[in-house]
């Protein structure tokens, strides 16, 4: 038995020693990673479509710096350990020029440690955890608006448009998303003199919110902060309508999904929520109109927020390589840091941490349709 194992291992060694890698200088290699399988595979797919829209167009018009762009996609299945392996492959075996991704915050965070050490520029697509860009890593950039900025932008919006709102009641899902959102909002709202007077939480998947709504009603607040995902968000809106609560409702980016309006019906009419992308709030932006047009032509659907974030990330990458005028990673990093470009969500510039500086869009639902609440 032992002998056979020794033979197998020796053979495996020979097989592994097989063909080497051919170096090709004619293409610019870009590595992109995200979940292509597992629960979040839909987001990975959107990311891929968004990037391809940009890169296909660049390649069709002669490429970049006289070379074609080749995007290598890696599936992290939503797992940080796999994200690390993929990014190590991108940086050491594939020798990519830079990296786009990922989707979930833990995978992006795990990958950023590798890109920081290997000195490879990385632009995250949909990861919103603020702390990823606070690690002192100059190689990391982000297309999405980080969670802390989103809550602060929502608080600014309320203070500006509704100066009479001073006392708010919060209802939220009791997990890192809900807790993080309400904590961030409470902190940001303080400087506008807005106070959270009651906090009611629920467990994800709950269907009855009578207890929480009764307490919110008793608190006699000026408005409601709802940090939910769209399914629960729609049920809460229905519950509020049934209970005859008419004060304005301000929701999280979790409500920014077509299903919120579909499930909520007329109960969500008049409600507000923060969003990472909506064709309604971006309709005045030429890049957004182009994105919608191209998405319909190529994939026959409207872009979701991951499409838009990936599309913008790809635009930033192409623009930075063009301005750097070389494939030198440090030059590209410097060019990325100096980005000033029209994207599908606004003018893209990065702050010192690598986060985008445009303000978060806010939607108001009017007659079952998204409208731009900032107008």
């Amino acid at each position: 038995m032992k002998r056979s194992w020794v033979t197998i291992v020796l053979l495996a060694g020979l097989v592994a020693a097989g063909p080497g890698r051919a170096l090709s200088q004619e293409v610019i290699k870009i590595g992109a990673f995200g979940p292509m399988t597992g629960g979040a595979a839909g987001s990975g797919q959107s990311m891929r479509e968004g990037i391809d829209l940009v890169m296909d167009e660049v390649n069709a018009s002669g490429g970049l710096l006289g070379r074609k762009i080749q995007v290598l996609y890696g599936d992290d299945a939503g797992k940080p350990e796999q994200a690390v392996s993929i990014v190590k492959r991108f940086t050491t075996a594939d020798q990519v020029t830079l990296i786009i991704g990922g989707i979930s915050s833990p995978t992006s965070m795990a990958a950023s440690q590798v890109t920081g050490e290997e000195k490879v520029p990385q632009i995250m697509v949909a990861s919103t955890a603020a702390r990823i860009t606070l690690q002192g890593n100059p190689w990391i950039f982000r297309s999405a608006v980080p969670d802390v900025k989103l809550t602060a932008d929502l608080a600014d919006f309320i203070a500006e448009k509704f100066p009479k709102i001073k006392r708010m009641a919060a209802i939220y899902v009791n997990d890192d998303f809900g807790r993080g959102g309400v904590t961030g909002f409470t902190e940001a709202a303080k400087k506008h003199g807005i106070q959270i007077v009651v906090e009611e939480k629920y467990v994800r998947g709950d269907v009855d919110y009578t207890a929480q709504i009764t307490k919110i009603r008793a608190a006699n607040a000026d408005a409601i902060l709802d940090w939910s995902r769209y399914h629960e968000g729609a049920l809460i809106a229905k519950g509020l309508k049934q209970a005859g609560v008419t004060i304005p409702v301000f929701g999280a980016d979790g409500n920014a999904h077509p299903k919120y309006i579909e499930l909520g019906g007329d109960a969500v009419d008049g409600n507000y929520y923060a969003t990472h992308f909506s064709p309604a709030t971006s309709s005045h932006l030429p890049v957004a109109r182009k994105l919608v047009e191209k998405m319909r032509a190529k994939y026959g659907k409207d872009p979701d927020y991951t499409h838009s974030e990936a599309y913008d990330a790809a635009l930033v990458v192409v623009d930075a390589v063009k301005r750097a005028g070389s494939l030198d990673r440090e030059k590209i990093r410097a060019a990325m840091a100096a980005t000033d470009l029209e994207g599908s969500r606004g003018r893209i510039r990065f702050d010192k941490n690598g986060d985008p500086t445009f303000v978060t869009h806010v939607v108001k639902v009017v007659n079952g349709k998204e409208t731009d609440a900032r107008k």
Binding site: M1, R3, W5, V6, V9, D75, P80, A110, Q113
Partner: protein, 323 residues
């Protein structure tokens, strides 16, 4: 069985040792070495589970709990408390072993019941890692874990880590080889075949099962420490039930009761899941198909492959299996 002349075996073993030591020089590609390093971590994990499942016949679905405990203990001690990494590494294994002691009351359970109890245990440990943010940094994971070091030696590259992983794997393998061939190993064998019969031969199953659980947990803790200082980033999602099942798959693919099989099984599963990435969305289908093929080899897994091939070569006409 082995038809090889006795005198040539030491030579083959020597060739294997030389090959193993030479791998990073022959194949210095960093991504390849990263995958091999990961394979070594899982080889240690699979060895521990092989002892438990293969030798003692105790099905555990909670191996990732001890793996995670070792990883987080070592990382927290080294990064947050500034404990020297080699000490933190050993502490991780000791804490994992101590945690296994809390399982002693459920070791009276057998078979499926024990499996479900260990599954529950795995869920609890994952929940603790996920929720105790002050200790583990919660769902965002822990960054900037220092690399392993031994005195002046720093194992901070894939190349250097390989030798650390190889040393721990080899030490675990040799220790388990001795163990399974000792009186202790024979007692486990007896328990695996029939607990009742073992009792009548004067063996106390709970005591032996406790010992083997503690040993398996200790090696899982070692593997966890290796992973923490190799990956240098830990996230609760890497220590779930899926991980426990993954390790179990390695053991079964390699062949139950074979220590060499556990190592080769770990390498095959890690290499398959990494290198199948080239097939994009077909990766999981191919991976699944690969598992089915391996299992079609029978209960012996890969371990039985050489013997089967040899038998097929000897017999020109296919004959019904003789079991």
């Amino acid at each position: 069985m082995g038809g090889l002349a006795r005198g040539r075996r030491p030579l083959l073993v020597l060739a294997l040792v030389v090959l193993l030591l030479a791998i990073p020089w022959l194949l210095p590609q960093r991504y390849f070495l990263r995958v091999v390093d990961l394979g070594l971590v899982y080889a240690v994990l699979a060895l521990g589970l092989q002892l438990l499942v293969g030798s003692a016949g105790q099905l555990s679905l909670g191996h990732a709990a001890f793996y995670g405990t070792g990883a987080y203990t070592s990382a927290i001690l080294a990064r947050k408390l500034g404990v020297p990494v080699e000490a933190a590494f050993l502490a991780g294994a000791v804490v994992a072993a101590l945690l296994a002691l809390t399982l002693v009351p459920v070791l009276r359970l057998r078979g499926n019941e024990l499996a479900v109890a260990t599954l529950g245990f795995g869920v609890i440990v994952h929940a603790v890692i996920l929720n105790e943010e002050w200790l583990t940094e919660g769902p965002f994971g822990m960054m900037k874990i220092p690399p392993f070091r031994l005195g002046l030696l720093v194992f901070d590259t894939e190349f250097r880590f390989y030798y650390l992983g190889l040393a721990v794997t080899a030490a675990t393998y040799l220790a388990f080889r001795r163990l399974t061939r000792s009186r202790f190993g024979r007692a486990l064998e007896a328990i695996r075949q029939s607990e009742e019969a073992a009792v009548t031969s004067g063996i106390n199953p709970v005591r032996y099962k406790s010992k083997v659980f503690v040993i398996a947990a200790f090696t899982a803790g070692l593997a966890g420490g290796l992973f923490a200082h190799l990956n240098r980033y830990l996230n609760p999602n890497d220590f779930t039930l899926t991980e426990s099942i993954n390790i179990l798959v390695m053991v079964v693919v390699g062949g139950l009761r074979s220590l060499e099989g556990a190592i080769v099984g770990a390498m095959i599963i890690i290499f398959a899941s990494e290198y199948l990435r080239a097939f994009k969305e077909y990766r999981l289908i191919l991976f699944g198909a690969l598992l089915v093929v391996f299992m079609a080899l029978g209960a012996e897994g890969l371990r039985g492959l050489p013997a089967k091939l040899a038998a097929a070569a000897r017999r020109p006409a296919p004959e019904p299996s003789d079991g």
